[in-house]
């Protein structure tokens, strides 16, 4: 019936269950990197996390724990990946030798860039510890050392080389950022969900994924970390901008000739997020982007970065620049060159029709008589497992895939997720995953709309309209009300609504 996603758990298992193999730890002999001093910059972070069960949104799944190593930064902040502490219920920090423990709280977390900073509940716990400095840019071929901890607190070092620097997708799948790949034979060790990587005693990034077969570690580099740490002492977090365009490469000479493109390079805009910065600035489908901020864009969408060489220009717009920065775009439209200033802007959740993730917050729901309504979200679809695009109900998948093409005022997709059989839902128990359009004649563009409309029954009935068959369901409003308490009791539901 309904499968539960094992994707995340599998990744953890891969890290920990990989066979032990022999690899000698290579000492990082550079000055300032002695074990004693490094130990003072590392903390074990044990996070107990718990996520909601989307098929029964009023309950949480069993808790699980993730263990990794955090890097101490200036100001008593501990840097970890967001995945380590996503949906955390309790975070414990521990000195490398395991002699002292304390607890910590999340100070800032950004799932997009997969980073979080923690703050110890008791700052005195960090006394005698030494923060790590952030390293500057690296090039392909440079060395870096991944740090792990032995149970006795000794540092295990694995030396590797940067094999590639590119803009790649991060676990939250909501944006692409700079990514280092480090070839390094990491050993199986407890507490390796997140690991710091250093070069000459300075932090170069955090390991967030490890591919056992290729012995390759994915590292969130300091370029992204610096952006994330920006304005840590001010309450407003600028976040990462998102341009909101899709583009195609312009390699085909026939297409280049047809659009009258004489200059080298350029990319072809194929789609725009309706309320993204590019769309607001007036960039249109079929425009050709020739340069951004004075830097030429090649036919594949790369620019020449002074630090990292030829990489995708989204690094420039999203990471180098901040929301609020204005970037001039050089555009070719209908044979004419235009300059369009684009004001970068962080992704606004209100603009999205379908939430890409719901970390650290409970999913909303409304239960009416036994009909369970939810807003469609990516985590809901992911309950169908790693092959959710083919296993989840196809109409819902299409909503997710083609959400950019929905009318601007579509609002949220409210679905009848399932039917809890009760005396009020007789005949309806086989229905699930159909999209609601109206309740009692009022259009439903969010769960709040639905909850509001439910307060106004028509002639004593709740009349729910759907996009698909059966098109209309009718419930007895008074009877639902009368049975509400029984329903809660029977199915052990603490509340019939969570908005």
């Amino acid at each position: 019936m309904k499968a539960i996603s094992l994707q995340r758990i599998l990744w953890v298992a891969l890290l920990f269950l990989c066979p032990l193999w022999v690899a000698s730890a290579i000492a990082d002999t550079a000055p300032g990197a002695s074990d004693a001093s490094l130990s003072q910059s590392l903390l074990r972070v044990n996070s107990t996390n718990q996520v909601y069960e989307f098929f029964q949104p009023w309950i949480k799944k069993p808790p699980f724990s993730r263990r990794g190593i955090g890097a101490l930064l200036d100001g008593g902040r501990i840097l970890v990946t967001a995945e380590l502490v996503a949906n955390s219920t309790f975070i414990e920090i521990e000195k490398p030798a395991g002699t002292q423990k304390s607890s910590a709280v999340v100070e800032r977390i950004d799932y997009q860039c997969n980073l979080a900073v923690l703050r110890p509940v008791d700052l005195a716990f960090l006394e005698g510890m030494k923060p790590l400095d952030l390293n500057g840019p690296l090039r392909v071929g440079d060395e870096a050392t991944v740090l792990q901890l032995e149970p006795n607190g000794d540092i295990a070092r694995t030396l590797g080389r940067i094999t590639s620097i590119s803009v790649g997708s991060y676990p939250a799948e909501s944006g692409s950022f700079l990514l280092f790949k480090l070839g390094a034979p990491l050993q199986q060790r407890d507490g390796s969900f997140t690991l710091p990587a250093i070069n000459k005693g300075r932090l170069i990034g955090m390991v967030m994924r490890y591919d056992l077969r290729n012995q390759s570690a994915d590292i969130v580099p300091t370029a992204v970390i610096r952006h994330f740490l920006q304005g840590l002492d001010s309450p407003a977090y600028p976040g990462f901008g998102r341009l909101g365009i899709s583009f195609a490469q312009l390699r085909d000479p026939q297409l280049r000739r047809f659009i009258g493109l004489q200059e080298p390079g350029g990319i072809y805009v194929t789609d725009l997020a309706p309320r993204g910065p590019a769309s607001i600035a007036g960039i249109k489908k079929r425009d050709v982007i020739l340069a951004v901020d004075g830097l030429p864009i090649d036919q594949d969408g790369n620019y020449e970065d002074p630090d990292y060489g030829r990489i995708l220009f989204s690094h420039l717009t999203n990471t180098v620049k901040y929301p609020g920065d204005v970037l001039p775009f050089k555009i070719l439209r209908d044979g004419k060159i235009l300059e369009i200033p684009v004001t970068m802007q962080a992704a606004n959740r209100e603009d999205s029709i379908i939430d890409e993730h719901l970390f650290d917050e409970p999913p909303k729901y409304v239960i009416l008589g036994g009909l369970v309504f939810m807003e469609l979200s990516r985590p809901y679809l992911k309950e169908w497992g790693s092959k959710w695009t083919s296993n989840a109900p196809q109409r819902l998948v299409y909503y997710d895939v083609f959400q950019n093409e929905l009318p601007a005022d579509r609002g949220r997709i409210v679905i009848l997720s399932q039917v809890l059989p009760t005396s009020d839902t007789i005949g309806y128990q086989d229905l699930d995953n159909i999209v609601v359009t109206k309740l009692n004649g009022r259009s439903v563009k969010s769960l709040a709309d639905l909850s509001e409309a439910a307060k106004q029954p028509v002639d004593g009935f709740q009349k729910i309209e759907f996009e698909e068959d059966p098109k209309l369901l009718i419930l007895d409003a008074a009877s639902i009300e009368a049975h509400a308490e029984t329903l809660k009791e029977h199915y052990a539901i603490p509340s019939l609504e969570r908005l």
Binding site: D252, L255, Q394, V401, Y428, L472, I474, D476
Partner: protein, 481 residues
Amino acid sequence: MSRLLPLFLLVLFAVAPLNAVEISRSLVRIEATSQEPNYKSPWSPGDVSSGVGAGFVVAGKRIMTNAHVVSNARFLTVFKEGDPNPYIAKVLHIAHDCDLALLSIDNPEFFKDTLPLDFGGIPEIESVVSAYGYPVGGTRLSVTRGIVSRIDFQIYSHSGMDSHLAIQIDAAINPGNSGGPVMQNGKVVGVAFQGYSGDVAQNVGYMIPTPVIHRFLKDVEDGRYDRYVDLALTYSNLFNPAARRALGLDGDNSGVVVSSVYSGGASDGIVSPGDVILKIDGHTVSSDGTIPLLNEAVPLDEVVERKFKGEKVKLDILRDGKPTTLIVPLNAPWPFKLQSHLYDEKPCFVVFGGLVFQPADQNFMEAYDPSDQRLNYLFDYFVSDEIHLARPEIVVLSNILPDPVNAYAEEFRFSVVDEVNGHPIKTLEDIVKAFDEQTDYYVIQFAGGGRPIVLDRKAVDEARPRILARYAVTSEKNLEK
């Protein structure tokens, strides 16, 4: 539940050897050589294969068998018991939607000693039936016996889309016997046609019952087969007391509510969503959508099943609480055909600059199994989201025969064509017309807005003979089914 097995399935259980001797005068073995088109290289005639099935002589010097025995046939030979000579047969009528076919034999000598079989009614549950045919395990006539297990609507796997009444019998079913008669008291009570594989279920075989056979025989009386007709609507049960009250229904158990009425179908403009169907041709409709017929509760669709194109069905409905009578003239809505397996049709295609364009249909989707989500959406929701109104054919860039002219087209494989040079592409014919235009560039725009494919006319003209020769493409287009 997995799908029904391959089609060559048959059941045989003999009642009495006495009958078998008589029936051997009616039974035939059919050897079919068929050629199935290859949708991945639509210009080639396809692979030749051969198979064996059963059939029996019916009135009018005809042989009845399953449609799937003689589908895509290029050459048919028929053998009768006790006569070593092969007789060349032709398909007289074929009904893919109910898996039946009638054959004729050129040589009049064939029918000299044969005995046309008569048809009986619907056998009782648990009564014994005998099946005759030529299953694997030998070449001679084989007889087996079983009982009637169940009478129900089943999907007929030959088309994959149509469901009709079918009778389940508990005999083992084996490849090679499709089309053979199932007998009771000397009369044909069904034609064996499909079953489950032993992996899924044991002793589950199905036969086409006589109401379906009679309908087929009557349909072809005018010399051609018109297919089944359909109301082209969906309905939902009315068990829920609140729903019944809201729709103005009393306490009895009747009525179903119409959910969707498909545009272009028989009920379009006559029946409306929200109508409550109380009676169909005078039969009271129960709240689960069944009517009492054949001493059983069968889906109300059975009434329509027995009718023909141009006939009418009477619906007693409740609309906004008021009783009304509707008359629906029946037809066979074409959009449904897109999702049926197709037989005896040639694949349509166009090759232009090494780009192969084909309309998506069931055979196409099975051949390629494309993962493109937009294509799958348009295909899956062709009927229910009325895609067919704006796009009678889903024209797909199905394949790329690599050549310098199309070096950057690979990313568009399985994209659906929207426009060529600004002309909307609603059918394959539209794209042929657009490519016939004399223009410097052909700009092919796909659904979903991405970048276009731009082809330089001169480059296409130069590439044309080169591509045809290199990939042994014998024809650049076929628009005839």
